[in-house]
């Protein structure tokens, strides 16, 4: 009996095929691949958006990971990572923590940071971190 769920096999993967056009907001959970055209907004708190070579997104994107092979016109806000692959064209500002750009990709926009504020460091190599932070005038 399996006690641990196999998340990979239960992942909800959606496909918006070539020739399909959507106007409006798209909210998804795990993963969505776009080979058609989307106009509006694309939102996923923890999901991955893959824009295929034939995909065109004229939308505001707010996701966890955004992998781009096609065309994007709009701002992309990806909490963890943005990948822009060759032959893709992006016009819009990017906000992310990790940006991967392949040679040949076109990016026309500003790149900034988007990373959740760190309330307290979970992994710290020094236990006495307060002592290591330099106190000036103390």
């Amino acid at each position: 009996m399996k006690l641990v769920k196999d998340n990979a096999s239960e992942k909800n993967v959606g496909l918006l095929g070539k020739g399909v056009e959507v106007n409006g907001d798209i909210i998804f959970a795990d993963q969505l691949q776009v080979e058609g055209k989307v106009t509006g907004r694309m939102i996923s708190e923890n999901g991955t958006l893959i824009i295929g070579e034939t995909g065109r997104v004229d939308a505001q994107v707010e996701v966890n990971v955004c992998v781009i092979h096609g065309v994007v016109n709009g701002n992309v806000n990806a909490r963890s990572r943005v990948e822009i692959h060759k032959a893709s064209r992006v016009s819009g500002d990017l906000a992310t923590s990790v940006l991967v750009i392949e040679e040949g990709a076109v990016l026309n926009g500003a790149v900034g940071m988007n990373q959740a504020d760190i309330s307290l460091p979970k992994e710290i190599r020094y236990q006495d971190s307060d002592e290591k932070i330099k106190a000036k005038g103390a």
Binding site: R81, V98, V100, K122, E123, K136
Partner: protein, 133 residues
């Protein structure tokens, strides 16, 4: 006439042997030069250091899943540090480490400041680095 035929056969067989010795070497050398260099990245660390090179603060993040960094790819990493202590944090140098799934550090890059950067209590600073494979 026979001698000539035998001699030419011998020369041919020697040439074939020589070719068989040379070919595998060529194949090996090609395999080495064409070996793909791909880094499978699962996360990244930020390490902040003071002017003595002592680690002041460190943290790690995941990249939202494992991904491959291949030749002709460049990567930019943005890390945010917020000083939640009641003291000023003095930072002279920082390093960003790209790590594999098993925690192995694949690449390390960073920068140092001529004058230390002071992060006041409650304030944040973004440390970024770029690297190309």
């Amino acid at each position: 006439m026979r001698r000539w035929i035998e001699l030419s056969r011998k020369i041919m067989s020697l040439a074939t042997e020589l070719m068989s010795l040379i070919k595998p070497r060529r194949a090996d050398s090609n395999a080495k030069t064409q070996a793909p260099v791909t880094l499978r990245i699962a996360g990244y660390n930020l390490i902040l250091m003071d002017h003595d090179g002592q680690v002041v603060w460190t943290n790690e993040w995941d990249t939202g899943g494992i991904f491959d960094l291949r030749p002709h790819h460049s990567i930019s990493v943005f890390c945010k540090f917020t000083n939640h202590s009641s003291n000023e944090a003095e930072i002279s140098e920082y390093e960003i480490e790209l790590v594999a799934e098993d925690g192995l550090v694949l690449k390390r890059f960073g920068s140092s400041f001529g004058d230390s950067v002071i992060v006041m209590p409650g304030q944040s600073k973004v440390f970024s680095g770029q690297w190309r494979l």
